[in-house]
Subunit: 328 residues, 2 copies
Amino acid sequence: MAVTAKDVAEACGVSRITVNRALSGNENVKPETREKILKKAQEMGYVPNLIARSLVNGKSKMIGIVISDIKNLYFSEIVDAITRQARARGYMVCTCTHDSDCQEEKRLIEMMKGYCVDGMILNCVNRGGEFKDWLDKLNMKYVILGYQLLPESYTVGVNENKSVKDVVRFLKAHGYNKQVFVVPPLYGEDGRINIPHYQRASGFQEEAKKQGCDYHILYGNDTNEQALEFLKKNTGEKPVFLCTGEMFAIPMQKFLKKNGYRAPKDYGLMTYDRLMYRFWNEEAIAAVDNHVDQIGTSVANAVIDLIEEKEIPMNIEVPYDLEEGTSL
Amino acid sequence: MAVTAKDVAEACGVSRITVNRALSGNENVKPETREKILKKAQEMGYVPNLIARSLVNGKSKMIGIVISDIKNLYFSEIVDAITRQARARGYMVCTCTHDSDCQEEKRLIEMMKGYCVDGMILNCVNRGGEFKDWLDKLNMKYVILGYQLLPESYTVGVNENKSVKDVVRFLKAHGYNKQVFVVPPLYGEDGRINIPHYQRASGFQEEAKKQGCDYHILYGNDTNEQALEFLKKNTGEKPVFLCTGEMFAIPMQKFLKKNGYRAPKDYGLMTYDRLMYRFWNEEAIAAVDNHVDQIGTSVANAVIDLIEEKEIPMNIEVPYDLEEGTSL
DNA sequence: CTGAAAGCGCTTACAG
DNA sequence: CTGAAAGCGCTTACAG
């Protein structure tokens, strides 16, 4: 098997403790001995066994990430940011995906515990107090991806309720009084609610009402068609569509274009995130940029702070920006 | 800290060995004792410490993935496929990224060894015999992402030299005798060659010559402009551009469109991969589909087969498809 | 059916 | 400056 400290020790005619001391930079080693050990270790290709070290130290320097799907651009960008920040602070990252399967999520979290990760970052599909109790019983440190997503837990994310209110005012300031919020079904096939989308939808409603806007909500799996109907029937003011994601905004833009409606001539368009945008050099849709990389960096810092026993706020808000584009 | 087998044993008034036997499904435990142990373990939230197990078993059931950048769609798709296949075979995955930094790649590989991964999947930026020697000295199992990328190593990928020849014939069969290969600089800033692109370029040249095509190669950072010039000066036959990636093909298509040239009216267009395509519902560019998910599945299987001491071929070719689109 | 012993590779006191 | 001892949580023989 692999070369161990013991092998190096034998090759040098000293004890493994001395080898360890030399390698760890401890001062109490005779310079010549140290030299010899370092040289031999190098020669023999000695790499310390980190899991043995974990076992005795009680810390693994590993962070577990349990998310739904890494092919999703949102997550690949977050995982990238987490990986970088974790490495910068001396941690390695293990990622696994549960495809929004509640049972699988629990299995993976237990597995992460089994591997003794020092902390976990969760994009949890399980919800509510029962899950929270189950999680706490594991006695692990964890941070939830998503602002205030799980009660009484450490969370990191954008305050969706607040940001959408900014958007309403932003659009109003751009002269749009007729505002249409476009959102896919809030409830999944399993009957569970999509909390971030719900936070946006309810915030939109509150603020649009408050601002005296003529507001509407398009909801469901056929929002493209609904939007087209809306434009056809619309009289008077030009409306703006606020889509809850690029996955909806971009196809909608194409669909409407095919049917003779163009932004910003016939309607305004705004979306969330600019993840796909980086692949193209075309006109930008106005967007709420949630700075996904910052979310990743923040959540990595949060969980590492927890691990290192630093105090952090319960719910960390990551800032967002409203970005102009050519679609308003 | 966490609940150990010892804790469960004490709670049940038996030895930890008995606990272990009950939990591992060993038959030699009195049914009542087993019942009691299973119940207590469940109650106490016992999760076996997998790194302690790794230490004694000499295998961690972890696979290390060392790649350049997970934000790259190619890699996020591969990592996704690897993760799924690895889980299906009982392995967990640790991923880290080196941003094409040769030193960092070596550090990460050593770190993976330190964490006792049973095998590694590498998208290596280091090349050549010296690296190969260094790698082998670590005495780890590894598979390289990229067909025949590192000599005398297990590799998995598409046979680029072969596939591009198919493409040349495919385009010829579509009536294109004037073929233009579009490739970014083959040498990076660091002077190292991009082997897959080189394999494609040289295969293209060989086959185009053999087929008696009127062939050209556009090469560099301004291939959009070069393509436009080419079309402007072009007389006679309609050419086809074969781009080495969507990152080049899609912007080129847009650029040419802006300048009044459209595919397939004024030119033909073919590209590699359909990774971005899944985000859109627009017309498809004809493409060599490398089935990136299959590459991921294959490379996961390859490394796990190695770990489990099964025989596998040195270089595994993953099949590709030539996909029709609306651009030819 | 059950347990005491040895060991995986390391670290952390403690003794010389 | 150097080493023997104990222990992290588990598993694998071996003994009763």
